[in-house]
Structures are given as C-alpha cells and as structure tokens.
C-alpha cells in the first residue's frame, strides 16, 4: 500500500467529507438556530446573520431549565455510579469465576437489554406513586441504573477478559484471598474499562426521554430532555424555538466533549461487548 494513487486519495477525501457532513449537519443546524435572534429565526440560513446569546441568557434565567440541568446531571451521575459498581462486581464474577447460575445471569441481562421500557412505564408509574418516589430523583435513578446494568455487565466483562490472569494468580500465590486479588490487583488494571463503561452508561442515562416524561410531573425531578419538550415561549405570542435550540445545545456539549476526548475508548467499548469471543 506504499504508492497510493492521487485519484484514490481524492476519492477517500470526498467520502470522508460526506461522512463528516452527514454526522454534523443536524447538530450544526440546531446550534445555528440557538444563536439567531427572534427576528432572523425564520430566515432558514445555516449561519446566523446576527449572532446573539439572548437565547442562552434566557434559559439560564429560568428555573425551568437550570433546575432540569441540575436534575439531569445529578440523576445521570448517581445512576451511572451505582450501575458501574454493581456491574463491575457482576462482570468480574462472569469473566473470572466459576459458579453455577452464570448463564442465568447472562440470559437475564440480555432479556433486560431487549426489554421495551414502555412496558415498565405503567407499572412503575403506579408503584412509584404508592411508595412515594414518583417525581423524585430515586424514581428516575432506579429505572436508569437497571436498564444500564446489562450494558455495564457486557462491556465490563469483555474488558475484564482481556486482563492478564497471571497477575491475579501471582497475588493468590503470595497469599491473597480471592477477594483481595479482586480489590488490589484487578480493580486498578480494570480502571480504563470501568471508565469507558461509565461514559457509555452516562450517555444512556443522559439520553432517556420516556421515563423522564412519565415518572415526573414537576420541575423537582424533570430532566432536560423532558423539560425542553414542555418549554413554552416567554410570552404566549412567542414560539419557544430559540430557547429549545439553546437548551438542546447545552445538553449536547457533554456528549461532544466525551466523544472528542475519548473517541478511541468509546469505540472499543461499544464494539468489544457485542462481538468479541
């Protein structure tokens, strides 16, 4: 592959540009909308003629958005933390230990990965109202961590299978118990995989809409995706387009940061769980 023809390179350049445009265009469009002032909002141009930050100022002045942002961050972080801790424990057992019932665990997580969330919405709605966690943080954290557990277990057990066995054995030879070998040897080795999984789980929780609109009724636990669907204009004559666009951009920023910083890890995480083995 030393000598690559010029036409060949040009062809790849065109293909690459098409792919990048495909991926970025809708994102660019909503970002452009968010910087337009109300008078030019409807001009349909891809680049705002008069740049303004009014839309952003507007949303950060209302608790409707700021409260939702705090809810989104808090709920996604806590759900991610719990899912990754539980997932790490289970994935370690799946990847490293022999015990009856392993296939059952794997089958069960697979079932949950395929589970239609809408099927849980009606029972959870009722259960949560009865036990009093409807419209609270735990009311969303619990379904989020449950639905992200299969993702966590798969990704983590794929990573864990790559970790050198010998180091653990060596620790055991040196007198460590299985539990100590887990805590002192595997956990540090596993940290990159755990971190990658945490990103994937966070993206999953950050993205949810169905539970967020079904299991909340006020600002107290509503996350941003649900909140922007209920945005109203600051007056009844004004469309909330600018505010929605600005809020949409704000919640896209963490995704873009993750993707830019950890592209390699995310790709590895998504592909390892699915096909390896």
């Amino acid at each position: 592959m030393a000598a690559v023809g010029k036409t060949h390179a040009t062809r790849w350049a065109i293909v690459n540009v098409v792919v990048v445009l495909y991926a970025l265009f809708p994102v660019w469009w909503i970002a452009a909308l968010s910087f337009k002032d109300p008078s030019t909002l409807t001009d349909g141009s891809y680049i705002p003629t008069d740049w303004t930050l009014e839309n952003y100022k507007g949303i950060f002045e209302t608790s409707e958005f700021t409260r939702a942002l705090i809810n989104s961050i808090g709920i996604a972080l806590i759900a991610t933390l719990i899912a990754v801790v539980l997932g790490t424990m289970a994935a370690y057992a799946v990847a490293r230990l022999r015990f009856p019932g392993k296939q059952l665990l794997i089958g069960m997580s697979l079932l949950i990965a395929m589970f239609p969330p809408i099927s849980l919405v009606s029972p959870l709605f009722n259960i949560e109202r009865i036990i009093g966690i409807f419209d609270t943080w735990p009311g969303l954290i619990i379904p989020y961590m449950t639905f992200s557990l299969p993702l966590a277990i798969y990704t983590l057990s794929a990573f864990f299978r790559e970790i050198p066995w010998d180091l653990e054995k060596a620790a055991k030879v040196d007198g460590a118990t299985a539990a100590q070998a887990f805590r002192l040897v595997i956990v540090p080795l596993a940290a990159p995989g755990v971190f990658t999984t945490a990103i994937l789980v966070f993206i999953f929780c950050w993205n949810d809409f169905l539970f967020a609109i079904s299991l909340t009724s006020t600002e107290s636990a509503r996350t941003v995706p649900a909140a922007i669907a209920f945005f109203t204009g600051s007056s009844q004559f004004q469309q909330p387009t600018g505010s929605i666009a600005a809020a949409a951009v704000v919640i896209t920023i963490p995704i873009i940061v993750f993707v830019l910083l950890f592209q390699r890890r995310i790709v590895a995480g998504l592909t390892s769980g699915a096909v390896k083995g």
Partner: protein, 302 residues
C-alpha cells in the same frame, strides 16, 4: 455445564470459596434487575386484568381479558402496530446498508480515521430529543432549511406518509453509526490475508465482499440486526417530538403512553404494555430460532 469444576461433587475449599464469591458479587445486580423489571412486569399483567381508570381509582375491578379484547379489536392498536412494523422494517433495512458502507469507510479509509470515528459517534451520543428537534425545525415551513427545498405550502410533518418517512430518516441518522460500529467489530474479524489471496486469484471487490466478508461477518450482522430491530420496535422519542403521533404516525409505544397519560386508563395502558412486551419476545425468539443469532451472552460460555 462448563461451569462445573472437573472433580465432580467433591468441591475443594477454593472452589467453594470461588462459588460463594461469584454469587455474592452477582447478587446485587440480580436483585436490582429482578426488582425493577420482573416484579413490575408481573404487576403490569395484574393491572391489565383490571378495569382501572386513574380518575376513579376506587372503582377498579377485575375484568379478566376484557382489556386485551378491547385493545386487539381496536383499529388504533392495529394502526400503531403496522406503523411500528413499517418504521422498524424500513429503517433497519436502510441502516444495514448504510451502516455497512460506513463500517467499510471507517475500516479502510486512508486518512482521517480518528476524525471519521469521532464524527460518527456524535449521532450515536446525541440526545435523541435534541436530534428530533433539529429535524423538526428543519422540516417546519418558514423556519427550516429543508422545508425551503420543498414546494411552497408543503408541510411534510402534517401528512401521514411524508411524516413517516421523515421519522424513518431521523431514526436512520441517529442509529446508523451504532449499527456501523457493531459491523466494524465484525469487519475486524475478517483476515486481511484471505482478502489478499482472493485478490491475487482475481476476485473483484464485489466478489470479495459477498463471498468472503459477508459470510465471515454473519454473526456480527445478526447481532446488529437483532439489537437494532428490537430497539426500533420501541421507537418513542423521535415520534413524540416530530409528530406526537398525529396523522396516524404513532407507534405502539406512543399508543401505550397516550392511553396512560392522556386517557388515564391504567388497565388499557397496561394491556398495551404487556402486548408490546410479547411482540418484542416474539421478535427476539424468531431471530434466535430462525437465524441462529448467537445471543451476545452466548460468547461468554466458551
């Protein structure tokens, strides 16, 4: 069972310890998953056998399978069912083709490999609601750039078929990268030497793709198809934002949501929930039985 230690019943102390640790480590995940899915789905079945209007909770009563009869004899259910099947079938088919192309680009491109992968992760990672709003504004007359391309007065999101195709478009844009990444993992399993050997033997690019790459990638393709089909069948966010299910564009998930939160009918809503659960079960079962799609868990067996 490969999990059983080789020495029969006489478990060594170490094996017993290992076994206990295994159960101990899995227990929290298992308890959470059972408590948050198995118990509620059982409860959903129970609710679906009741006449239960949230406005009159005192008047709940057992009605047997009446709710299922009402749902299955209602045109709303069947409209939503066919719409869901249409969106699922069409979008997954398009995604498979586009995703394969995208995977090949990611795998073989001569430069910008990192940039390409970073770019395609953005549709994967972006919040579905955000992307859906972007599409909605793009297609809204007097606001969006895409609507400007259409003849004056066209509002595609307010007509059934154009709206359905736009829902498919939004779905395809968002999830093709995921499909492509799963296929990319399959592509990595195709040995370069085999391809080179075929090239030396004079196989065309198309022949190499169909005769060598596709068969070797079959497991990856089936897993990707299974995952995406089940995921597409659950479609909710895109439709909710783009059309809210107006003009007969609602999926079964939209129908379930509406019955619960607009009609406030917990009995009917739960019956729809259970029916969707059964549909998803049938799709998964068909895939595994018909195509022998190895469930992603099966690989752990070894």
């Amino acid at each position: 069972m490969t999990d059983r230690p080789p020495r029969g019943n006489a478990l060594s102390e170490g094996a017993r310890q290992e076994r206990r640790l295994g159960w101990l480590l899995c227990a929290p995940a298992v308890i959470v998953m059972l408590a948050v899915t198995a118990y509620p789905i059982g409860y959903a079945v129970y609710l679906s056998l009741q006449r239960y209007d949230l406005r009159f909770p005192g008047r709940a009563e057992f009605v047997g399978l009446d709710n299922y009869g009402a749902v299955l004899s209602s045109p709303f259910w069947w409209d939503a069912f066919w719409v869901t099947l249409f969106i699922t079938g069409v979008s997954v088919a398009i995604e498979l083709v586009l995703g394969m192309g995208l995977a090949l680009v990611m795998h073989r491109t001569l430069f910008w490999r990192g940039t390409i992968r970073t770019a395609v992760l953005i549709p994967y990672g972006i919040v579905t609601v955000v992307a859906a709003f972007s599409w909605q504004y793009a297609w809204t007359p007097d606001l969006g750039y895409l609507a400007e391309l259409l003849p004056e007065g066209d509002a595609p999101l307010t007509e059934q078929w154009p709206a359905l195709w736009l829902i498919v478009l939004a779905e395809v844009w968002k999830t093709t990268p995921f499909m492509a990444l799963l296929l990319l993992a399959g592509l990595a399993l195709v040995p370069d030497e085999t391809l080179k050997a075929a090239m030396v033997d004079g196989a065309t690019a198309w022949q190499r793709f169909v005769r060598i790459m596709l068969p070797l990638m079959k497991p990856a393709i089936l897993v990707a198809l299974l995952f995406r089909t089940l995921d597409a069948f659950r479609i909710f966010d895109n439709i909710y934002i783009l059309t809210a299910g107006a003009q007969d564009t609602g999926s079964v998930s939209i129908l379930g949501y509406d019955n619960l939160f607009t009609a406030l009918n917990l009995g009917i809503g739960s019956a729809i929930s259970v029916l969707i659960f059964i549909c998803v079960g049938i799709i998964a079962f068909t895939f595994v039985k018909l195509f022998g799609a190895a469930a992603p868990g099966a690989e752990v067996k070894r």
